[in-house]
């Protein structure tokens, strides 16, 4: 049974390389390390070879490490729930991580509580369309005349925790930073329709533990932020509490108040944009370049060049009048 209100902590993994490889403060690695050390199994979302998101099973830390980092598209769960049940019935400890609706889905499927299952749900903005993501990668490949070999949905190493810039690496060696997919994501046209009516947009969640980026850290725990990532950790019941107690050695933490920790997805879902249908018509009928310009804040390079030229001319004129 979940408590009436969660216990709230700000958490940073003590190992800085772990934290830099994680979306926020690395609490997922601390919790999953503890499971792996006991011979348990970790389930979570990885990026596949064709840059799509899917849930997989991990017995080893190196496989678990692929789950670190947020993939801002909906993850494919096919086949996974049955594997979880098989592991649980074999008496193995299991940690399952995913969006709140994925965790609730698993719990519904299992139909009973298992003492040796720990569910960790992530605070979720909503999940973007993988079709838009695929079209975006193709567009970037065309523009850069090279195959994409790696992506980071939110590059923290180069830009810090709070920034939101996606980075693509190409076979040619080129590395491209962009905010086009971020802008499409935050425009909300590309979210799954159910996300506008998500029932998990409150401080109450289906997981034993709920994790998020601690955006309100300055208010909740002044002095704790270093822009390298802090996790907001909500302990929702006795099991979650015990799982956190077991990893306290590996992390720095501060107890916080829920009132100081709120962000929109802990209060209500985002609204469905009125012109959602118009977006999808554009997406299906027009070029991706058009979509990127109209909805993704993309400004073609030649336009930038023209503007810079104009600005230079203006400056020259201005300097002349001054001298």
């Amino acid at each position: 049974m979940n408590w009436e209100a969660p216990k709230v902590y700000a958490v940073k993994h003590k190992d800085i390389s772990t934290r830099m490889a994680s979306r926020s403060g690395g609490i997922f690695t601390a919790l999953s390390d503890n499971i792996l050390e006991q011979g348990g199994i970790v389930y979570g979302c990885v990026l596949t070879d064709d840059f799509l998101a899917a849930h997989v099973r991990a017995e080893k830390a190196e496989d678990r490490n692929q789950m670190r980092g947020s993939k801002y598209i909906q993850s494919d769960l096919r086949g996974v729930f049955k594997m979880v049940r098989t592991d649980l019935d074999a008496g193995k400890k299991v940690l399952f991580s995913g969006t709140s609706c994925q965790v609730a889905g698993l719990q519904g499927f299992l139909g009973k509580e298992y003492d040796h299952l720990c569910c960790v749900d992530i605070v979720c903005h909503g999940v973007p369309s993988s079709n838009v993501w695929k079209a975006y990668i193709k567009w970037q490949e065309r523009r850069n005349h090279s195959k994409c070999v790696n992506v980071d949905f939110r590059n923290k190493r180069d830009h810090g925790w709070a920034a939101h810039i996606e980075t693509m690496m190409f076979a040619s060696g080129a590395k491209v930073d962009s905010e086009v997919f971020k802008n499409l994501f935050y425009g909300h046209h590309i979210l799954r329709p159910c996300c506008y009516q998500c029932p998990y947009k409150s401080t109450m969640h289906p997981g034993d533990i709920t994790i998020a980026d601690y955006w309100k850290i300055r208010k909740a725990a002044p002095g704790f932020n270093d822009n390298r990532g802090v996790s907001l950790v909500l302990l929702n019941n006795d099991d979650g509490n015990a799982a956190f107690e077991a990893v306290k050695e590996a992390v720095e933490y501060r107890a916080c108040r829920i009132e100081d920790s709120l962000q929109t997805p802990l209060v209500r879902p985002f609204e469905r944009p009125e012109c959602r249908e118009v977006f999808w018509k554009d997406f299906h009928k027009r070029s991706f370049r058009f979509v990127a310009k109209k909805y993704g804040g993309y400004v073609p390079e030649n336009r930038i060049a023209v503007n810079v030229k104009k600005l230079k001319k203006k400056l020259k004129r201005l300097l002349k009048t001054l001298t």
């Binding site: 994925q102 889905g105 698993l106 079709n131 590309i190 159910c194």
Partner: protein, 80 residues
């Protein structure tokens, strides 16, 4: 004599009411449900009428619709 068989389960009326968690797909005892992408690339369950034995386990397992109902989202005129 013609065998009478119940209605095919309707897993969602509007796309808003399915999060694609795959619980119905996983619980089906005869693998009658597949998860198929729509034109936006999101997966939704599709029931194969030939395989389905009308046990309705897929309807009973769906937590998402249940929680939307509790929150009052499900009845917002969006769904029947």
């Amino acid at each position: 004599m013609k065998k009478t068989i119940g209605d095919l389960p309707v897993l969602f009326n509007e796309k808003e009411n399915c999060c694609g968690c795959s619980a119905c797909y996983a619980i089906c005892p005869v693998e009658a449900i597949s998860m198929e992408p729509d034109e936006e690339g999101f997966l939704y369950p599709a029931v194969d009428a030939g395989k389905c034995i009308r046990c309705y386990k897929c309807l009973a397992v769906c937590r998402f619709k249940e929680e939307q109902r509790i929150k009052g989202y499900y009845s917002r005129g969006i769904c029947g």
